[in-house]
């Protein structure tokens, strides 16, 4: 039996917003197996980004436990990468320098870092923009650079916060395929937040549905369809409907 790469036990997090207590997350239990592709869907504001920040070690939970490879998360780890919802590029660094930042402190030589960064940039179709500054990129291009930065150091667990949200459907489809290819090649674990249920069904082994107020896990749906999955196949459509219904039911009940 292999150990889970990530385990969450009764994780809770609240914020004080305008003097009110907002329960961003309550009682989150979750386990990710190594090499598993998990998608996280849920309405806006239900705590998806908060959950990723906790797992990445950028924030600490108020209650519960987060274990990465069996050890408690106390801060960011090299074993866990995060692609932020906003692109988070440093405006004063060139595109390539931004990507190289993610390799800082690794054992690679400066040359190797540059090479890896360039390769990652090629992957997202922006080979010619290595020396551009972030302000010279469109929103979708910046998001692709952020993706390249997230992928460059090949973490065993990669958290992706709506990485394709600003992309046109063609680019999005291409990068989804690319992400699957990388995942198949690396055999790492992916935790992808998306508001696109179809994307979740197409990519993931398991789709977790989060409910809002307080943020909690409402359902988990295993997707056992063989890959590559076809966007307009009946099976994909059926699963999509099932998950969307789950989201709707909840919205009505709330």
């Amino acid at each position: 039996m292999t150990q889970d790469i990530l385990t969450l036990n009764a994780v809770a997090k609240h914020f004080a917003v305008d003097g009110r207590k907002v329960e961003a997350l309550r009682g989150i239990d979750l386990a990710l197996r190594p090499g598993e592709f998990t998608a996280l869907v849920g309405a806006s504001g239900c705590g998806k980004s908060t959950l990723l920040r906790l797992i990445a070690g950028l924030d600490a939970p108020d209650a519960g436990q987060i274990l990465l490879n069996g050890t408690q998360v106390r801060g960011p780890s090299r074993d866990c990468g995060l692609i932020f919802q906003d692109h988070r590029l440093l405006p004063w660094l060139s595109v390539l320098q931004n990507i190289e930042l993610a390799l800082s402190g690794t054992t690679h030589s400066a040359q190797a870092r540059q090479k890896l960064s360039q390769a990652s940039l090629d992957l997202v179709g922006l080979a010619d923009f290595a020396n551009a500054f972030p302000r010279q990129l469109s929103g979708g291009m910046a998001q692709r650079v952020a993706l390249a930065r997230g992928l460059v150091n090949r973490p065993p667990l990669l958290l992706l916060d709506e990485p394709f949200s600003a992309l046109d459907s063609l680019t999005r489809a291409r990068l989804q395929t690319e992400l699957l290819r990388i995942w198949a090649h690396e055999g790492n674990s992916m935790l992808l937040v998306t508001h696109d249920v179809e994307e979740a069904v197409l990519l993931a082994d398991r789709v977790i549905v989060l409910a809002a107020n307080p943020g909690r896990i409402q359902a988990a749906v295993d997707i056992t369809l063989p890959r590559p999955r076809l966007r307009n196949s009946a099976e994909v459509a059926a699963l999509k409907t099932l998950i969307l219904q789950g989201l709707d039911d909840f919205a009505e009940a709330a």
Binding site: A56, G57, L58, G75, P76, R78, L82, D86, R88, L90, P91, W92, L93, Q97, L101, A102, S104, G105, F133, P134, R135, Q136
Partner: protein, 262 residues
């Protein structure tokens, strides 16, 4: 549609900017020629022009200009380095801020020239005193601007330091220094301009030595006001060159945040 005026072009702007001083010089010259103003007290533009022509051929002028520039360079470089170091420490460390902040804010309220007697006593009114004064004048704007720039770094950018486990050097080179860059450069720009003012000021206020301030003083004693004005023009020109030159450097270093230029 944006209206374009003839004075939108570079040369147009320049011509417009020069029109006022040129007209002033003309009126002045006319008034002096007609004896309306006493041209021994109010050096006429013509006399000033002749004085300029004499000065540029006078080795003493060049040696004084060189002495001032060298003094300025030493004091300003020292001041910028000190201001930068102190500003970074103050911006990064809340402890340092709480400890030194109030004193520095109080020091800001003390007119800088009141330091002259103290510095003269401590360091003598020779070269050390002058350079120390220039250093003080240039360090302060760099310090305050740097501290402010570092303090205003955005949390969402600083978060990357933790996420990517950036070392001290990388944090400094890739995040803190460039992130605070606009503010630091603002401070350095001020320092470059103030440094030149402080250099001339120090040459007036401290014991005479060499330099443009001394040069001016010599002509003042002789009532050669045409030469005084010629020196003023030279000092002003150096200031303008510093300002424009540094503006270019600033623009290059901050090209990452510029709106896309043509």
């Amino acid at each position: 549609m944006s209206a374009r005026h003839w004075h939108d072009s570079r040369w147009g702007t320049l011509a417009l900017g020069l029109a006022f001083p040129a007209a002033l010089a003309l009126v002045w010259q006319g008034a002096a020629a007609k004896g309306i103003i006493d041209s021994s007290v109010w050096a006429s533009p013509w006399l000033v022009a002749k004085a300029v022509a004499t000065q540029v051929r006078d080795p003493q002028f060049w040696s004084d200009l060189g002495a001032s520039l060298w003094r300025d360079a030493q004091g300003t470089v020292l001041g910028i380095l000190l201001g930068l170091g102190a500003g970074l420490a103050l911006g990064r460390s809340a402890l340092a801020r709480d400890f030194f902040g109030p004193t520095l804010d109080a020091a800001k309220a003390v007119p800088i020239f009141t330091w002259v007697p103290l510095l003269a006593v401590w360091l003598g009114s020779g070269e050390e005193g002058k350079i120390a004064f220039i250093t003080l004048v240039t360090a302060l704007p760099v310090l305050f601007n740097t501290a402010e720039g570092v303090r205003s770094l955005e949390a969402r950018h600083l978060e990357l330091i933790r996420l990517y486990h950036l070392g001290r050097l990388t944090t400094f080179r890739r995040v803190v220094l460039p992130g605070a860059g606009p503010a630091i450069l603002r401070g350095v720009h001020q320092a470059v301009l103030f440094g030149w003012l402080a250099t001339i000021g120090a040459e007036f206020l401290f014991e005479a030595g060499n330099g443009m301030g001394t040069n001016i003083n010599g002509f003042k004693e002789l009532y050669a006001l045409d030469f005084v004005v010629a020196d003023m023009l030279a000092i002003g020109l150096v200031g303008i060159i510093f300002d424009l030159g540094f503006g270019r450097i600033e623009k290059f270093l901050l090209r990452w945040r510029e709106d896309s230029s043509p």
